[in-house]
Symmetry: C2
Subunit: 440 residues, 2 copies
């Protein structure tokens, strides 16, 4: 049990002084003594860098060296670790990350897009230069789930990792549940309350959740990060009627990111999907409401572990950033992705169509004879076995009536084929929506 | 970022070959390659010790050196770390722990009773001899909550830590909820299904939960472990009628361990309580059913973090034990209780009577005039303000009728006083039951 080689402070260069950056400063001011005790040495911000030097950030930055550009921060004599809170998968953030690691300094980042796209390169650089790379804040805000997978569940083969990875979507879906309001109205409300961005696409189209899922999958399965193979669908298509139907069937709707592995004889295949799912009301993810994140990891010895908490916000994110700094201050040495980069497996993309699942399928159809027969015929021809079906009596907003069904367990590709067969039919007045039922 | 100084295997001496011990052996056989990758070196059991050498344990132990007594294991040349799975707060387990640390070897234990009673002494020895001490498996089985508090939430002042810490009690309470059965019947059923011991006292009287709470409190608040000051009440007094009443009021009943701190000018005071509580149905702990554990930590930056999973069982416990071994194999150096023992604060015991709470109070009373007046007068005289009260029409099993009430928020000591005033009254046919309503 080696003690940190020196009790000199860990000197931190902070890049990005938005809400999270100022949160980190506030945390170190407020909890500094405690952090020092737990880290075994002080953690001190020595230099900062942000776009606008003279913006009022509600605090005094006079004690820190100001770097006008980030290259200066990465090379600063008084910096052991750079905290990157600049954001964006490429551009200045990535340049800073590369310069930091190349200079042999540690890097702590909250940047899920950068880690999802360039995590392998950065981990390799960290290894090559013998410095630390940590990104707890990049996944699920303040929840220590990266540590939970990397260390807490390290003795387990992880069989599946999944969860509620986007607080904005969860806020909107649970608001729709509570109010009966439709998507647009709930989004506007979320925006008004600060739970959704003015441009919400990144969240509601599932991209943010996909970034987190790609990172979680690499940690859980020891695979190379493969963001491009994540299948992503957001929540724009979910309607109030879907939530009502799901409720009647004993489910709630949540945006779920899920990843698992297929160990075929010839190759290892990785399945990564983000999409709205029906979740049984007695599943631990079902009661999770509002802008909360929750990650489930199923280990072959630990069983089902669940980590839950605030998925975003300056306080939780700062908490995760400083936890990483404490790790580095303690001299903890584990590989960023739990195993050396060379040991990570390049997994092929699994064929989601070959998976067996129960599905919820909703059509909005024209209110005239023969429509149901047409849908039923498509299901039959594609080999989809219907477990239950409901057709609503009355036309609603867009002049269609609702036909919703739940299938028996069967290949996902059959459902896709049935829906494809109906594409372009006059009978449909809107895009159909298919949602899987999450396996318990 | 120092790498472990050598890539030689971490050599483990295993004391105790019950279900958890054989679980650890099975885990290292089954997941050994993965564990080696994640630990950066192999983890190998080299020596074992148990009471009966020749019992059939379903595996071949021939590859391990057999130690006839534990002193031999602690001093064995081929042992870097001892895993103590013997159990019991004192006796052989404690002797082994002391010998192991005194010999400068690491110690991993699943023994919550020993850590709750002797954790401070053992942590001090570990510090003095420069060796590791880990006890993830002692709290909440496979859930990495010790790590979660010690490292994941390390940047936070923890304001409160609480949770469902005993799977047997949770199994019984949620079975009562589901079936409407009374306590005795549900206990017998839990015993038949293997969720309760033949002698269940340790679990159902709250002692096991109290051990875990005392450890969690020390980790969360940086206080010395103080098991003796935990106020403990078990679940024997909970009746089916209480669960029904709670349900009608929007609550479930859970055995909750809760700890928090009072920072008075003169001294720091620690409150630790284990008892059945009313938990609002929308609280994250309410949906947790069966033999599951869940721990909530409220951080001043992270907000509410929840860790959930299997609280016992050989697989989950082995998972936690081996996670600790991986930490030690990686050379991780943090103090067992997050800060050096000398920094832990000896907190005074807070006065739980001075706390403000809403309470549920249930009386079983004789079915005759004047009883309600007597109770109401006691409440008034003790200064307890009743928010709602229900008196059941009919006498039940023990010839009493139920009077249940919920108080407004007020000092706990007033409620105690009211109940004490009624003690010995002819009007009561059974002990009254007081349960706090868990603050959301």
């Amino acid at each position: 049990m080696e003690q940190p080689s020196s009790l000199s402070p860990l000197r931190v260069g902070l890049a990005g002084l938005g809400t999270v950056g100022t949160g980190v400063i506030r945390l170190l001011e407020q909890n500094g003594k405690l952090v020092e005790q737990r880290a075994g040495r002080a953690i001190r911000i020595t230099a900062v860098c942000a776009r606008e030097r003279h913006r009022d950030r509600g605090g005094d930055l006079g004690g820190y060296a100001w770097c006008d550009d980030m290259a200066e921060l990465a090379a600063h004599d008084d910096v052991d670790v750079v905290v990157e809170l600049v954001g964006g998968s490429d551009g200045p953030a990535l340049t800073l990350a590369r310069q930091t690691l190349a200079a042999g300094r540690g890097l702590v980042t909250a940047n899920k897009a950068m880690v999802a796209h360039h995590g392998m390169e950065l981990a390799q650089m960290a290894e090559a230069h013998g410095c630390g790379l940590r990104f707890e804040a990049a996944v699920a805000g303040g929840i220590p789930v990266v540590k939970g997978l990397r260390e807490g569940a390290a003795a387990n083969v992880i069989e599946r990792v999944y969860g509620i990875l986007n607080g904005t979507c969860n806020y909107i879906l649970t608001a729709m549940e509570a109010s009966g309001a439709d998507f647009g109205e709930s989004l506007a409300d979320a925006q008004a309350r600060g739970f959704a961005e003015a441009d919400p696409a990144f969240d509601i189209d599932g991209v943010d959740a996909a970034h987190k899922l790609a990172i979680l999958a690499a940690l859980a399965f020891g695979t190379e990060i493969d963001f491009d193979s994540v299948e992503v669908e957001g929540i724009r298509q979910v309607r109030a009627v879907d939530i009502a139907q799901a409720d009647a069937l004993g489910y709630v709707i949540r945006l779920i990111g899920v990843a698992d592995m297929e160990h075929a004889p010839a190759e290892t295949r990785l399945l990564q999907r983000v999409r709205p799912c029906l979740v049984a009301k007695d599943h631990p993810l079902a009661p999770i409401a509002g802008p909360t994140n929750a990650v489930v990891a199923e280990g072959n010895f630990a069983g089902r572990l669940l980590f839950q908490g605030a998925g975003a916000g300056d306080g939780p994110t700062a908490s995760a950033v400083v936890a990483d700094l404490i790790d580095l201050a303690r001299g903890e040495s584990g590989a960023p992705f739990s195993v050396p980069v060379a040991s990570l497996v390049a997994a092929a993309k699994a064929d989601s169509g070959a998976r067996e699942s129960r599905s919820y399928i909703r059509f909005m159809v024209a209110d005239r004879p023969g429509v149901l027969a047409e849908i039923a015929a498509a299901m039959r021809d594609a080999g989809v076995s219907i477990q239950s079906l409901i057709q609503e009596g009355e036309a609603n907003g867009d002049g269609g009536v609702l036909v919703a069904m739940v299938t028996h367990t069967g290949p996902v590709r059959n459902v896709r084929q049935a829906v494809a067969m109906l594409e372009g039919s006059d009978s449909l007045v809107a895009e159909p929506l298919v949602m899987p039922i999450l396996r318990n």
